[in-house]
Symmetry: C3
Subunit: 153 residues, 3 copies
């Protein structure tokens, strides 16, 4: 059903990105899935640059959306290929690379939040914190981590 | 009882701020309440500016306190108007907008931590991470998110 | 057993750092231990300075390792002197103080991730987010907080 919604939205989940270092993409603990910070891959390349410098708010929204799609790809992999066990997107932590003048982090982060709601409906409505940082891994424009509640097996 | 303590401290909870974007203020999952990052509203206006630039440490403490009051307002709304189900403030994530020279994030964040302990007593003692960021939504001076343990219904 | 592994790695746990402000080092909630952001103490002194400025990537890795050792010291104290109840390192939140040009946060954070795996084996494999920040408390080079799953008492 979630897969149908993804298809309907024209979203093809990418190969989940391998961790760029010595950790794992997801850990399940007590019915919660903790997902590592995901970078905004589009066609296998990371969207780079800071908002206010080489990137615009619209770029940031696209980057946030790409992070959200990668979060969903990680969920699917962690759950053995099915998204049915996703009960609720609980929390997104959104880090936006920007200059110190940029104050529309919420609007940038909406690129991810809107996608979660479009894909999961009410189950996609999450708590969120969105802040700026001076720079991100691989010079990424956005990084997002997540906590997701799972249905019992 | 918590309401009495708030009154004793002269704290009037504000109307919980609506999310500035497409997400929800709180999500309950497995007895934990995840609260979205809250901005420092005082009399309906956000305290803005960076510590080390236009703001002092004392301003930052007031801003952190205002974020904590908004977190409590969000708890109250999420819990149907009563704070009795708050079992423990588990974790605060404190983001301080500052110049790269400011190193007293802990003292700024105490504006929130001290308030939580004043209001909830031992139940208000929490784990915490406090870091600086270059800028926050709406140019806010501080943003704080939280995880709160609830008593069973 | 974990203690033997620490000895084998030549790691002597430091006295757990007291909170630098009004909060507590750890809170246990529903089988999860939330640990406050830890600074990189070596021989009782904080490793200070930003990567890209006065610090190198190698310094950052050492600082991340020192934060991880302090996280373990906090676990041990919270668990009454024994690390046997650690079931899984669930999540690390890694904040790296750097200039806006530094993009190897994952490699810096590996100083902590590699140590967790060396000490706890598969149980040390965690989800992670690593971002840069302009500055940290006490001018620390790295700060790391954690969520750890505990075995039932």
């Amino acid at each position: 059903m979630i897969e149908e919604k993804l298809a309907e939205l024209g979203i093809i989940l990418p190969e989940p990105a391998a961790p760029v270092a010595s950790y794992v993409p997801t850990v399940e603990a007590d019915g919660l899935l903790y997902i590592s910070g995901q970078l905004p891959f589009v066609d296998g390349k990371v969207i780079t640059g800071k908002i206010g410098d080489s990137r615009t708010l619209a770029d940031g929204q696209l980057a946030a959306r790409a992070c959200a799609i990668m979060l969903i790809a990680q969920m699917k992999k962690a759950l053995g290929g099915h998204l049915d066990r996703v009960e609720r997107i609980v929390k997104l932590g959104v880090f936006v690379a920007s200059t110190p003048e940029f104050t529309d982090q919420p609007e940038a982060a909406n690129g991810a939040s809107d996608l979660m709601e479009a894909v999961f409906g009410d189950a996609g409505k999450h708590a969120r914190a969105a802040v700026s940082v001076p720079v991100l891994p691989r010079d990424a424009t956005v990084e997002i981590d997540a906590v997701v509640k799972l249905k019992p097996r």
